[in-house]
Amino acid sequence: MLAPSQVAENYFLESRHQLLEIAAYLDRYDAAVARSGDRNGQAAADEKKLAVIRRALQIVAEQKPAQERTVALLELFATV
């Protein structure tokens, strides 16, 4: 089993990478919206998915979650 500092160190870059991918995903969406103009009602459907991602990020950022973050996220993603 790893010590706390080993966990923090060993998985830092991997976590950084994954967060950058999420940031890029949201930037990519914003850029696509800016390019697309009239979207014929698609925005509402997109927003539902993005709201889940934003809620997931809030859960991930919680310092003292009521349950494991992974469990909370899986339950959240089960709603979409």
Partner: protein, 279 residues
Amino acid sequence: MQIIQPHYHAIARTAQDYERMAMSGVVAVAEPAFWAGFDRKYPETFIDYFRQISEFEPTRAAQYGIRHFSWVAVNPKEAENPTLTREVLKHFPEFFAKPTVLGVGETGLHKSTKNECESLEAHVDIAMKHGQLVLIHTPHLADKAHGTKRVLEVLAGMNIDRERVWIDHVEEQTIRPCLDAGYWVGFTLYPITKCSPKRAVDMLEKYGTERILVNSSADWGPSDPFTLQECILEYRRRGHSLQEAIEVFHNNPCRFLGQNPKFDIQPIRVEPVGERITA
């Protein structure tokens, strides 16, 4: 599709990588001088390394039909030994005369120390005096923005042809000032620590394709030469045409590297031959 891998540390990779790259369409690689994982002590160690990448490695690549080109430099991580740097620099002209050496690289900054900045300036200076191309490494992770700014400051004080300088490892926070200043830039794709294939395509869509090179570096650390092909797939999946992909992943390397006449691979264009296929 024909692909050029413009930044590839071949001596750290196996023959199987060459074989699979050839099968995926790679027709040429360019190998900058790199850090060995430890600080070298002797000029002769560099000289033999330069011989390896300029004499032996082209023969290994040729077995798979891949053209191999190279660059010479003292790595920024080793710039804290100015005496060593000066001794190695004296030997650069003999390598500039080799048929596959394209220029000076990868020089650049690691921690942006005074010695590193002086080494960068000396590398760029000798390249310009000998009409060579320049490949500049920018720091990774926390030092990226500061190091790139320092690279631009050092270059701004020099008399150089900016179109012959490629600033590598740019990311979202550093690409714009490098392009705005007139340099070529490179995206380096790594599984974890640098740019990802998807983010690279995002930047291609945002900034266009002019003066941009994409590479996967692929050294002895956690890295993968096929992140370049992943990037091509991502680019094509988003609806960019085959010719547009060729422009980025083949023709742009031809345009930059071809400023040195030793790099004689020409940009290509795909066209239908106009034949009617009948059953």
